[in-house]
């Protein structure tokens, strides 16, 4: 089975966001970067599919040369080879999706995994958009996946207040959600092996952006409110304030 996983490099979740000098992106000074957390579920699921059906896993990432770190992380978990689409420019979702679709067309995988969203821009759009550009179906926010020998699929995805079960067929794109699996840690052996696995570098094909960021803003600072007390005696006042002042209950 030909398997592809698309991964992204993002600021870690503890990052305190500051606005950069351009006023449109974050200040990258002192920021630690990690493999997008949802992509770990994507890589893990790819490994499980390979363990069941055999095949090869290609990891693809678009970004600067530093994105090779997240590719190596996926290789250390057990993926076979990497492709870095080099590009330092600011791209919108559409333009990233087009560049990824170009490469994916060439590989023509039976199944493609993404994290359900990247925790920087939180678009949650890539699996659907790349699927459309490739002309294959997609299922997002997937928490359970069964693939049968005949290529049919049953997936469960999260929706408001529950889950829905989706029927589909390979080839397909899956957007992995937390809960799908428990990602493995790269073993020392895996980390050593990853160093000798091939990572091909290419220039990402350019496409024009359709969405333009005009400005990045920080949320208005919240001022700390009132401490109403230190025990259950404060409860009556709290309920009164919620009803009469805040008017929320």
């Amino acid at each position: 089975m030909k398997i592809a996983v698309c991964v992204n490099r993002v600021p870690d979740t503890e990052t305190k966001v500051k606005i950069g000098a351009d006023g449109k992106t974050i200040d990258k000074t002192g920021v630690n970067y990690i493999l997008n957390p949802y992509d770990e579920f994507a890589v893990e699921e790819a490994l499980r599919v390979k363990e069941k059906f055999g095949g090869e896993i290609t990891v693809i990432s678009l970004g600067g040369s530093e994105n090779v770190e997240v590719i190596r992380r996926a290789l250390a978990m057990g993926a076979d080879r990497g492709i870095l689409l080099k590009d330092d420019s600011q791209r919108d979702t559409f333009s990233i999706a087009k560049a990824l679709a170009e490469v994916l067309k060439e590989i023509s995988p039976d199944i493609i995994f993404f994290g359900k969203q990247s925790i920087d821009y939180d678009n949650q759009a890539m699996p659907s958009l790349v699927g459309e550009l490739l002309g294959i179906p997609s299922i997002t926010v997937v928490v359970k996946l069964e693939i049968n020998q005949d290529g049919t699929i049953i997936a469960e995805r999260e929706i408001e207040g529950g889950r829905e079960r989706i029927r589909g067929k390979l080839p397909i794109i899956i957007g992995a959600q937390r809960g799908l699996n428990e990602p493995r840690y790269p073993s020392l052996k895996g980390i050593m092996a990853a160093k000798s696995k091939p990572v091909e570098e290419r220039e990402a094909v350019k496409f024009e952006n359709k969405a333009e960021v005009i400005e990045m803003l920080l949320p208005p600072p919240k001022k700390a409110g009132r401490i109403l007390g230190t025990d259950a005696n404060a409860v009556e006042e709290l309920v009164r304030l919620l009803r009469e002042e805040a008017k929320v209950i």
């Binding site: 600021p11 979740t13 503890e14 990052t15 305190k16 966001v17 449109k24 949802y38 919108d92 979702t93 559409f94 920087d120 821009y121 939180d122 678009n123 949650q124 759009a125 659907s128 459309e132 550009l133 179906p137 997609s138 997002t140 929706i159 408001e160 207040g161 529950g162 889950r163 829905e164 079960r165 989706i166 029927r167 589909g168 397909i172 937390r178 809960g179 952006n209 359709k210 969405a211 333009e212 960021v213 005009i214 990045m216 803003l217 949320p219 700390a224 409110g225 009132r226 401490i227 109403l228 230190t230 025990d231 259950a232 404060a234 409860v235 709290l238 309920v239 919620l242 805040a246 929320v248």
Partner: protein
């Protein structure tokens, strides 16, 4: 040339979601500001014709209905095709949808079909010099970006619970059925079964009130306090990452950067210290209440009202007081 705006009104199992009314109301407002013609689209099986007139109450004027027995079950591929084709038919320049589980999945596919730029999960839409400027959260709400779409066709999804529904207009919308040719190949993925989380459970992304618990609860069984408080308030139950990671609560309740970003009217954080990842996901709540033993917990920096105290005393007292005041 006059612009045209299309809003997709999402229904599931023959019922509109509240977010569908939010989308229609917002679509209508933006259409008016753009002096655009306004259309609303409803898709589903034979039953949607019965519920479509309801949209007149929220600003819908021309309701377009696409009916097919196969559309009674959600299918990403078929829904995206129908929406894209209706957009072409009415020559819509703008599409508005809710950023629900369905909307978030469908909108990018429609965008791919009609080559439209998009902005997802918008929390504000303004018309400036004839352009729609969207504001949307990034980094789970640690920052916001203002976005302008430069392509001819533009798609926006709207975060549920943020845009006002307004008073009912009591207006009558015109209904028009549209035929879209669908074949079996359009149903490549189909939802064939829905599994409700737990009977009556409210999802955190849709809730007006959320009661969330953290490590301060000490043990999973103590979450019954949170559930009881949520029950009195008709609220959803939320959880911090720590307790989800510990396996105390399901991950669909997790609020924060790698969980759900929420914006309810009232957020009650119980035994949650307020790590930066958690604050990112909930700090846009309208009113925040924190109950925590540690007076230095970061949650108090964003809380409107705080009680520095033992939750095992405060929460039962709060439940009792609310029952009394709310007459339950």
């Amino acid at each position: 040339m006059a612009k045209r705006v299309l809003t997709f009104a999402e229904q599931r199992e023959g019922k509109f979601k509240k977010s569908a009314f939010e989308a229609v109301r917002t679509g209508k407002r933006v259409a008016d500001e753009l002096s655009a013609e306004f259309y609303t689209l409803v898709i589903g099986d034979e039953n949607v014709e019965k519920i479509a007139p309801e949209l007149g109450d929220y600003g819908a004027e021309k309701v377009l209905i696409v009916q097919d027995s196969r559309l009674g079950q959600y299918s990403l591929t078929a829904y995206a095709k129908v929406i894209a084709e209706v957009m072409q038919k009415v020559e819509a320049d703008y599409l508005f949808m809710s950023a629900t589980a369905m909307g978030k999945e469908v909108a990018p596919r429609v965008a791919g079909k009609i080559n439209a730029g998009f902005a997802v999960d918008c929390t504000d839409l303004k018309v400036e010099n004839g352009e729609v400027i969207a504001t949307r959260p990034v980094y789970a709400g640690k920052a916001f970006i203002k976005v302008k779409i430069n392509s001819d066709k533009k798609i926006f999804t709207l975060r549920p619970n943020v845009f006002p529904v307004g008073e009912k207009d009591g207006k009558v919308a015109s209904l028009e059925k549209i035929e879209i040719n669908l074949n079996d190949d359009d149903f490549k993925v189909v939802a064939f079964e829905t599994i409700a989380a737990t009977q009556g459970k409210i999802d955190v992304t849709e809730a007006d009130i959320i009661v969330a618990g953290g490590r301060g609860l000490k043990a999973p069984e103590n979450f019954k306090l949170i559930e009881e408080l949520a029950d009195v308030l008709g609220a959803a139950v939320g959880a911090s990452r720590a307790v989800v990671d510990a396996g105390w609560r399901p991950h669909d309740e997790q609020v924060g950067q790698t969980g759900k970003t929420v914006s309810p009217k009232l957020y009650i954080a119980v035994g949650i210290s307020g790590a930066i990842q958690h604050l990112a996901g909930m700090s846009s709540s309208k009113v925040i209440v924190a109950i925590n033993k540690d007076k230095d917990a970061p949650i108090f920096q964003v809380a409107d009202y705080g009680i520095v105290g033992d939750l095992f005393e405060v929460v039962p007292a709060l439940i009792k007081e609310l029952k009394k005041v709310l007459g339950k």
